[in-house]
Symmetry: C2
Subunit: 316 residues, 2 copies
Amino acid sequence: MAAYLALTGGVGGAKLALGLAQLLGPDELAFLVNTGDDFEHLGLHVSPDVDTLTYSLADLSNPETGWGRRGESWNFIETLKQLGGESWFNLGDRDLALHVMRTQGLRAGRTLTEITREISRKVGIAHLILPMSDDAVRTMVQTVHGSLSFQHYFVRERCEPSVTGFEFVGAVAARANPALATWLARADFAGVILCPSNPYVSIDPMLAIPGIAQQLRSLRVPIVAISPIVAGLAIKGPTAKMMRELNVPQTAVTVASHYRDLLDGFIVDVTDEPLLAQIVGSDLATIAAPTVMITLADKIELARITLEFIRRLKPH
Amino acid sequence: MAAYLALTGGVGGAKLALGLAQLLGPDELAFLVNTGDDFEHLGLHVSPDVDTLTYSLADLSNPETGWGRRGESWNFIETLKQLGGESWFNLGDRDLALHVMRTQGLRAGRTLTEITREISRKVGIAHLILPMSDDAVRTMVQTVHGSLSFQHYFVRERCEPSVTGFEFVGAVAARANPALATWLARADFAGVILCPSNPYVSIDPMLAIPGIAQQLRSLRVPIVAISPIVAGLAIKGPTAKMMRELNVPQTAVTVASHYRDLLDGFIVDVTDEPLLAQIVGSDLATIAAPTVMITLADKIELARITLEFIRRLKPH
């Protein structure tokens, strides 16, 4: 057996995560998930990326919106709006059950990891979902209009303010998820996959936690990333817009150089194959593959290619 | 102008409250509401009696269930149940918005009175709804199976354990709603109505607060009650069952003697007119009236009779 770890953030990452989970059993694959987007809202602890992965793996995702649950209703938030409550963050009636349970558990002194495990088991997920940390790390998006918490930037302000940088408040003091070390210490541990998530606000918050960065760097297994940028566009979310505002080329090349020395392998979309020549790094292997995942078959195919790629790579 | 105060608990009381609100304007009528049933559930502050009155006055009540909101959906609680959360207390998706807003407000340091006022205004209620206290008073139902908080007794245990007594934890130290004294001090204050609510668990918690009991007893205006027991039955809720378990006759007579010296007038249902002769008290006036309220017209008619009765009574 060989075991892998996939780092994932929002919707794009969750697509590949689902593909990987079809090919690898719960003994072979664990997920490390960004919680820099977590926030307290209406007195509830919301963990958007953990829930996106949970809904994806449990086949509960809403395919139309790309976020939230299928078959969702919106009577809570509609009523809250009528009452003059804060309604800019859309919370579905079913989705709300997770936030209420999570908040109740945290108040009772349980960890986010424990609660996430309990919820994921209840919806039939056997794979381990590890929030990056049980400590609070909060992604702040620095913009020309000042520093905004991630959800304020992403949802309330609809990613409109021009981005100048990022800060991961609490990251330096945060401990990595306690189960991560155990998983990485497995004798059969074979590779790390950075899913096609936003490098700045999905993957970087995880890498900003010293425990995680150190553990990954000390590994003797290949680390590969899949570009979330395809033909200069982000499939989902503000990655490309952020790159433009940060004055870096909106290409997969930028993603590869962003991760720099961490990577042993990098996958770009087939439409970006001409860019491969521009990606230069010491011992960085590159391939092009169909990375635009629409159907479940697309997700499984990219997972298959990623695993095949990683298996023939030499570790850094 | 003449001003009145109506004390009310759950569904039965809210029916008369709605009738009274049709006849008296917001300058003439205020409500004092039981909060002994309030509880923290799933991390949320639930105020069942305040909400029952709010929904009644705002014409949002569910006529089929007799509690909760009309047009309610149940996706939150259904999901919570699937996740293994505590689902014995049915929280509707729309109803939940009130609990989340209230909890958020309380955590931000606002009072239950302020939050209740804000919510009631938002749903179009002009009358003053005064929670009996901004301090926590918790009705404990003493049963043969031990002491249970009210909602555990009422909802989770479905009123099954045999009742031996009641305790209103926190009542002695609780301050009456700060706006109550102002309302009662009005020069045109003309009467108090104890709505047909459960005397033990809806009205008594209010009377157990020293500030409220003292203020009502010092009034020089009539105080009248409407029996919640009709022909030996409680229209709604466990009043009659409690009486049986407490070994007192399940009749309106028991209600009248329960309130003892507090009352100047008492209204029984027309079917209980033969009981009037058994109700003896110093200067206690009694009448029989149709107290079973099905339609809005029923509610207005009982309100009209109650006000007419109170207007011709001498204060105690």
